[in-house]
Amino acid sequence: MTAQEVLFWVFAVSTVGSAGGVIAARSPINSAMSLVATFFFLAGIYVLLWAHTIAVLQVLVYAGAIMVLFLFVIMLLSLTEAGLKGPRLSLSRIVGGAAAAGLLAVLVASIRQLPGDQPMAMMGPAQASTFGSLHELGKLLYGTYLLPFEAVSLLLLVAIVGAVVVAKPKI
């Protein structure tokens, strides 16, 4: 096993484990902490995919900004631990588990049908050194994707105004 494979399996198992923690944790605070861990492990996986810029954004935006927002709301609502109401194996859990397992089976089956063993793209040293860098990503964002980029800035503005309006007690 190469170092890359070892890292992949370490990150993959930790990601799935902490994602399970998000679902299984009783108090929302524990869910949020597991989610932060999931984001960090996923950032590691992104680095393995040569997506350095997106990995940094993942940590800054997701594990930083969005999770702080979540924690603020959890503390603002001062939720009591509701605990698990009703039977452990309720109908909704069985149905939800079956639906998730069915979807997973379909997805895995279709991924298996990808032709042959998909090799990663071979890149020359020049391309490999710039792949996923902020420079290359910025050239795409401000070139081909300029209009969507500006639309996203508008969307964020609308989200800010909307959040203020919705959360205000009296308008």
Binding site: E5, F8, A12, V16, A19, V22, I23, P28, S31, L35, T38, F39, L42, Y46, L49, A51, I54, L57, Q58, V61, Y62, I66, L69, V73, I74, L76, L77, L79, A82, K85, G96, G97, A99, A100, A101, L103, L104, L107, V108, I111, L114, D117, P119, M120, A121, Q127, E136, L140, L141, T144, Y145, V152, L155, L156, V158, A159, I160, A163, V164, V166
Partner: protein
């Protein structure tokens, strides 16, 4: 070199776990966190295919997903706060005004 299907299957597992959480959990905040998990699974798929094909357009899609997720979290949490103010609960089983 880790083959690409490994990344895709990891993303599929993550997405299904998020979906299971959305279907099963009753706390609106945890449901939101599970939605974030599903968005991250989509991101991982984009990045895996971008690495597989050796072009950067998948990275741009992941970038946009992160931005949209930030907007979604802001609006969604504002709605959760508004519901908590008027109902005193964030249990999605107790919010059934529209259900008749």
């Amino acid at each position: 070199m880790v083959p690409a299907p490994n990344y895709l299957i990891l993303a599929a597992i993550l997405f299904c776990m998020g979906m299971f959480g959305v279907l099963v959990r009753r706390n609106a905040l945890v449901v939101f966190m599970c939605i974030e998990l599903m968005l991250n699974a989509a991101n991982l798929t984009f990045l895996a295919f971008a690495r597989m094909r050796g072009d950067l357009h998948g990275h741009v899609s992941a970038f946009f997903i992160i931005a949209v997720a930030a907007a979604e979290a802001a609006i969604g949490l504002a709605i959760v706060i508004a519901v908590f103010r008027s109902r005193g609960t964030v249990d999605i089983g107790d919010i059934r005004t529209l259900k008749h």
